[in-house]
């Protein structure tokens, strides 16, 4: 049923039509609220791309969403729906914080490899139990990862309030990291080659996100493991018949997925906030679901979708400032509509398009 369509229809036309539908409905919501959707769109574009300040913030948010989007995408290739990126990212942030606070790091390039390890290990660890239960016990990974999101948030609150808080301070957050761990900002990096941009949270992690996307592509489409993951995702019985171990693939895919979600901590915790605060993830793990669905679980698609969501987050903040009746919650609505139209209601577009193409071919 799937192969009946040319690739460009499957990977470009249908997602774009779905996206257009989502934004059309979002426009209707804006109309109902009593604002002009075209004007809102203009403000959103200017706010997100109209200045180096806006672009910096857009790409900073996009960096986070690349990591969480890749996380959901990797699991999706193995036929697993990881709703747990949110909790895995919480733990990844904890891993980054523990690494940064452990030693008086003299330079960021010494701290970074260890922090990557910390983020990855902690994120993967949080995915390990749901993965094991899915692989060995057949407990649905969706349910267990939902549960683990809540357990993670309770755990982090406990740790920040009772263990990691600075004595005497009221704020539930860790101590500030030593300056030696601060990742270079894009402003510093571009300043060194003579380009001047506004100061934004965008930092080295933006480049790491692109590297992660490339490595994910290599893994999924250019390695034996990636082949096994995709085969397992397409058809479990066929994969088992081909000698692929379901337990191994489920574990590996979920661990990689969790580790990737944890990497988000590099961008936000190590690159910008320089301390672990309460709920630093703030829903980014769930945005990853929308990003992965929109990007068709392909790294290039994920990067593009992440930039779009970065624009929504940054532009939406500016929009809420200029049009107070459209609060930042509009972003959540658009996110929901994107998930709905590109994910759940995908066949709304796919079936008619398919019929059209089959008829043309028959003619």
């Amino acid at each position: 049923m799937k192969s009946a369509l040319p690739r460009w229809v499957d990977f470009a036309l249908i997602p774009l039509l779905n996206l257009a539908l989502a934004f059309f409905v979002a426009g209707l919501v804006v109309l109902v609220i009593g604002e002009n959707p075209i004007e809102a769109m203009r403000l959103l574009l200017v706010g997100s791309l109209g200045s180096s300040y806006g672009i910096g913030y857009t790409l900073y948010y996009a960096t986070t969403f690349v990591f969480t989007g890749l996380s959901v995408a990797i699991a999706y290739h193995a036929g697993l729906f990881n709703i747990g990126a949110e909790g895995q990212a919480q733990l990844g942030g904890l891993g980054v914080a523990l690494v940064c606070l452990a030693l008086p790091w003299p330079a960021w390039w010494l701290a970074l490899p260890v922090a990557i390890l910390g983020a990855g290990l902690f994120g993967a660890a949080w995915a390990a139990i749901p993965a094991y239960l899915q692989a060995k016990r057949g407990s649905h990974v969706v349910i267990t990862t939902i549960m683990f999101n809540f357990i993670a948030s309770a755990l982090i609150v406990y740790l920040l309030v009772n263990v990691l808080k600075v004595p005497g301070s009221m704020a539930p957050e860790t101590a500030g990291f030593p300056p030696g761990t601060f990742l270079p900002t894009m402003q510093e990096m571009l300043g060194r080659v003579g380009v001047s941009v506004s100061k934004t949270p965008l930092n080295l992690s933006g480049i790491l996100a692109l590297v992660a996307a490339f490595l994910t592509w290599v893994l999924i489409w250019r390695t034996r493991l990636g082949y096994e993951i995709r085969a397992f995702g397409h058809s479990e019985p066929a994969a088992v018949y081909a000698g692929i171990s379901p337990v191994k693939i489920t574990m590996v895919a979920m661990l990689l997925s969790g580790a990737m979600a944890g990497m988000m901590g590099l961008n936000v915790v190590m690159g910008f906030q320089h301390r672990l605060v309460l709920d630093y993830v703030a829903g980014a793990g769930f945005v990853g679901i929308a990003v992965s669905l929109m990007g068709r679980s392909h790294p290039v698609g994920v990067v593009l979708a992440a930039i779009l969501f970065g624009m929504l987050y940054q532009g939406g903040a500016e929009l809420a400032f200029d049009m107070p009746s459209i609060s930042r919650d509009m972003i959540v609505v658009i996110q929901a509509l994107v998930i709905l139209f590109t994910g759940a209601l995908e066949n709304l577009v796919r079936l008619p398009v398919q019929r059209l193409f089959l008829r043309r071919r028959a003619a």
């Binding site: 809540f150 309770a154 919650d329 929901a336 994910g343």
Partner: protein, 322 residues
């Protein structure tokens, strides 16, 4: 802890368990018919908002309740369209519904009332209030029975009793009626139901709409009975606890009541005592109490305490043989 405190806690548990129970039964109908529903949270939230807002505007808790049910059923129909008619992914649809409710309630609430997403405070006459049963004061002096009657049996609002009544009703519908038999069959083996000449689509839509109505009641309870108005994100994960209770109960009505009462009791204890000291163990942090329903569910799912097996056709769209 004296008897009076224990009975007060029991009453509070019952009130806190009510929204869980209604949502849990909603999930029960839907999932027994083969439609996974992780959108319980979103449907409850939308209903809580609609009920709170409409009750404030019209001044009637009952019209608010109807509005809550309508909002929840709308979302349920989107879920039905996605997962039954369009044969889409039920889990993704549930996620989308949760976000849709979260975003829309805050956006519309702010736009409508301009109170940071809250709805106006409801007067006593615009809410479902506790009903004091007869002879509460006269029985007060009777040991055990008096306080039991006052704190646990009497004094709740209509929706609490309604939720409790829904448990035997659900049991009867599922196990003693033709509709219930078919509903359970469609969740196990839809092809067989189809072969028998019964419409799979209609049965599943029926289950999804029932789930919508029950989530509507649960949401309305939150904003017009338990609290006096809607707050942003006021469901605060209750839909997921209900989902946990459903698994804990292995998709059966009476155990669902037990699981919801257990989770309600955990919440009541957590609200009353910030930290609990267990002799020989030490202080139990409040966060552990909050996480306990989820941890217990994972333990159940792990199969250490009896295996939880979901309905066999759950989550898979039914494609008619051609």
């Amino acid at each position: 802890m004296d008897l009076e405190t224990i009975l007060q806690l029991a009453g509070a548990s019952l009130r806190l368990a009510t929204p869980l129970l209604l949502a849990c039964l909603a999930g029960l109908y839907s999932e027994r018919a083969g439609i996974f529903d992780i959108g319980l949270e979103g449907k409850m939230l939308a209903a809580a908002f609609a009920a709170g807002a409409v009750a404030a505007v019209t001044g009637s808790a009952w019209i608010g309740l109807l509005a809550g049910i309508a909002a929840s059923v709308c979302l349920a129909l989107i879920h039905g369209l996605a997962s039954i008619t369009l044969k889409g992914n039920q889990l993704i649809s549930g996620v989308a519904i949760n976000f849709l409710a979260s975003g829309l309630t805050a956006l519309i609430g702010q736009n409508w009332f301009g109170m940071g997403g809250q709805t106006p405070q409801l007067q006593a006459s615009q809410r479902f209030l506790g009903i004091s049963w007869p002879f509460v004061d006269r029985l007060a002096s009777v040991p055990l029975l008096g306080p039991l009657y006052r704190h646990v049996i009497s004094g709740h609002n209509l929706l609490v009793y309604g939720a409790l009544a829904a448990v035997p009703l659900t049991w009867w519908v599922l196990y003693r009626t033709r509709f219930g038999l078919r509903l359970r069959a469609v969740g196990e083996n839809p092809a067989a139901v189809d072969t028998a000449g019964v419409s799979v689509v209609r049965l599943r839509y029926g289950a999804v709409v029932i789930a919508g109505v029950l989530c509507g009641l649960a949401g309305a309870y939150l904003s017009t009975a338990m609290a006096a108005g809607f707050n942003r994100e006021m469901t605060a994960g209750k839909g997921f606890i209900a989902l946990a209770a459903l698994i804990f109960a292995k998709w059966r009505p009476w155990p669902a009541l037990g699981a919801c009462l257990l989770f309600g009791a955990l919440e009541a204890i957590g609200i009353r005592y910030q930290a609990i000291t267990i002799p020989g163990v030490g202080v139990v942090p409040v966060q552990l109490m909050q996480a306990l329903p989820y941890i217990l569910t994972v333990v159940i799912l792990a199969g250490f305490v009896g295996k939880a097996i979901p309905p066999r056709a759950g989550g898979r769209p039914y494609v008619k043989e051609r």
